[in-house]
């Protein structure tokens, strides 16, 4: 794409401004994480020196590594679960003809309109009655069936030519083998997109882990951070922000690594 210079200037100015606005909280959090209490009180923007005291304190005060591990297990679990459930459901909606398929699909999709919070209470009771409070399955299982993910994958699967399915049938491939050996590899970009999406949303989840964890055993990092805030009489924000930065790092890493695939997958799903 070529643009005239003035147009380019305006374009980039606007982009820079919005980038700064968007990124400011994170940058500020990053800077605060190096400040001491008094420094913060003075309302300074830049810390006097970059020292890691706050970071050491966070790891001291909280079992942060433990929380990070928990978060990682839960996020990865939800991601894998979502990929498995959504891809299988999408496969059924695309490749297995059955009566009322479209109706069932739209019913399924319509659950996207129900906010998750509305189903939280029944979900909580189920988990409680199963005695799954403070367990990984309690944290992950309710998120496996994802209407959005099924929709995304269905859209991609629909772009697979019918003849490919037929050729596989003639070659003697069963439905599951076709799913595993043709459908999944062909839909790699969409799967990566959905995986990243699932991982990040779970990583950032707050309300549900708060409800179903009552002790440290499987508590995730977002809840752990919250503890920092309320434990003290006067919150040491420098320490909190140090914790926040530690928590953000995996998210950013994932974003940088998966950016290209993510973009491709999202637009592909949107176009067709």
């Amino acid at each position: 794409m070529t643009m005239s210079l003035p147009k380019k200037l305006i374009f980039y100015t606007l982009l820079t401004i919005s980038a700064i606005v968007l990124f400011f909280p994170i940058v500020y959090a990053f800077l605060i994480s190096f400040m001491t209490g008094p420094e913060l009180m003075q309302g300074k923007f830049l810390p006097e020196s970059f020292h890691l005291d706050n970071y050491i304190k966070v790891f001291d005060r909280l079992p942060l590594l433990n929380y990070l591990l928990n978060s990682f297990i839960v996020s990865a679990g939800v991601m894998l679960g979502q990929l498995a459930v959504c891809s299988l459901a999408a496969y059924a909606f695309v490749f297995i003809p059955f009566k009322g398929r479209d109706f069932v699909f739209f019913l399924f999709i319509s659950t996207m309109m129900i906010p998750w919070e509305a189903t939280m209470i029944p979900n909580f009771f189920i988990i409680q009655n199963l005695n799954w409070l403070n367990t990984y399955q309690g944290l992950t299982l309710p998120f496996f069936a994802l209407a959005f993910g099924t929709f995304l994958l269905r859209q991609h699967f629909k772009t697979i030519p019918k003849e490919l399915h037929e050729a596989a049938q003639v070659a003697g491939l069963g439905p599951f083998a076709f799913f595993r050996r043709v459908v999944l590899p062909v839909s790699k970009t969409s799967l990566v997109t959905l995986g990243a999406y699932g991982f990040l949303t779970t990583w950032n989840m707050y309300l549900w882990p708060l409800l179903v964890t009552t002790n440290d055993s499987v508590r995730t990092v977002q809840i752990g951070l919250k503890q920092l805030q309320s434990q003290e009489v006067a919150t040491d924000w420098g320490v909190v922000m140090a914790g926040v930065i530690v928590v953000i790092i995996p998210t950013l890493l994932l974003l940088f690594l998966g950016q290209k695939q993510l973009q491709k997958g999202l637009t592909q799903g949107a176009l067709k």
Binding site: P161, E163, L164, E166, A167, Q169, V170, A171, G172, L173, G174, A177, V182, P185, V186, K188
Partner: protein, 376 residues
Amino acid sequence: MKKVELIDVSKSYDRQKDVISNINVTIEPGEFFVLVGPSGCGKSTMLRMIAGLEEITGGTLKIGEKTANRLPPSKRDLSMVFQNYALYPHLTVEENITFGLDVKKVPKADRKKRALDTAEMLGLTDYLKRKPRELSGGQRQRVALARAIVSEAPICLMDEPLSNLDAKLRAHMRSEIRRIQKRLGITMIYVTHDQVEAMTMGDRIMILHSGKIQQIGSPIEIYNHPANPFVATFIGSPPMNLAAADVRKEASLLVLANGTEIVMPKGSLDEIAEERVTLGIRPEFLMPPVTGEGLPVFDAEVTNVEVLGHETVFSFVAGEGEWTAKWNGQWQIQPGDRIPIAVDTGSACLFSLEDGRLIRKAADRQRTVTKEGAAL
């Protein structure tokens, strides 16, 4: 080697109108069976029913001795080349070729060897490591062919497998496919709308039109004795000339709409009950009077001339429309000329005007035709 038998097979997509009806045919083991017909006549549909990809809505399909109506495609033991290739986009050419073998648990070394042999046969050796999207249309088509051939299934279905190749490669592939088929003894069912392919490759041809069988027979039989005007004009290039004609039995004459009179061999019209028939005659049997000595001659006005070097093709007014004649050599004819044309009436076909049935066969013309005609 297995035979394929279709008994009263019909197909309807919407449960109202049949796109294919009353198909009765037995394809013999090891036979090269060609399905031809114009676009949309139901060739692919029929092939897909045999493959098990399309439900058969009426009749019985037998593969080998077994009824196969409800058999899933994977149990039918056949291979197929799709009209639009259907290559796996995420696999390399080699993996595409071996995919089916892999599924059938052929040992690895064997798999590799068969893939390489087939690739070499089809000129794909240089592309084995490429992905399908990095190939040209013709190369993709060859990969699709390789995939079918390598499986060595007893029945092979091909849906217009050569449509994207250039003339030279197509001619090469025609003989190559034919050779492979004979060597492996595969029962081949081959769909095409190219009549050259049909004529040169097929042991037998089936001509379909709007989902109905028009004729089944060997290529020469179909060329010489087309069962109806549709077949007559579909096979042969330029197509057979047709015109409605009045029958004058007593004079053994056929009179076209524009008054042209064609003298038929004596007695040849005796058994014809109709007053009016469709006369059909191939362009090569409208001859220069010199070559067709002794044959009845009529005068006609030329409308268009094409000199092709080895032959001259021209059209002239006959009946309500135009006919085409094909003369050997280069002839100095101008549009507008009135020239005499000899008719090899022994080679004329007569079709019923109502239902298009063949009512008078042309004489067999295995080189003796001219003599026979000259004698009359």
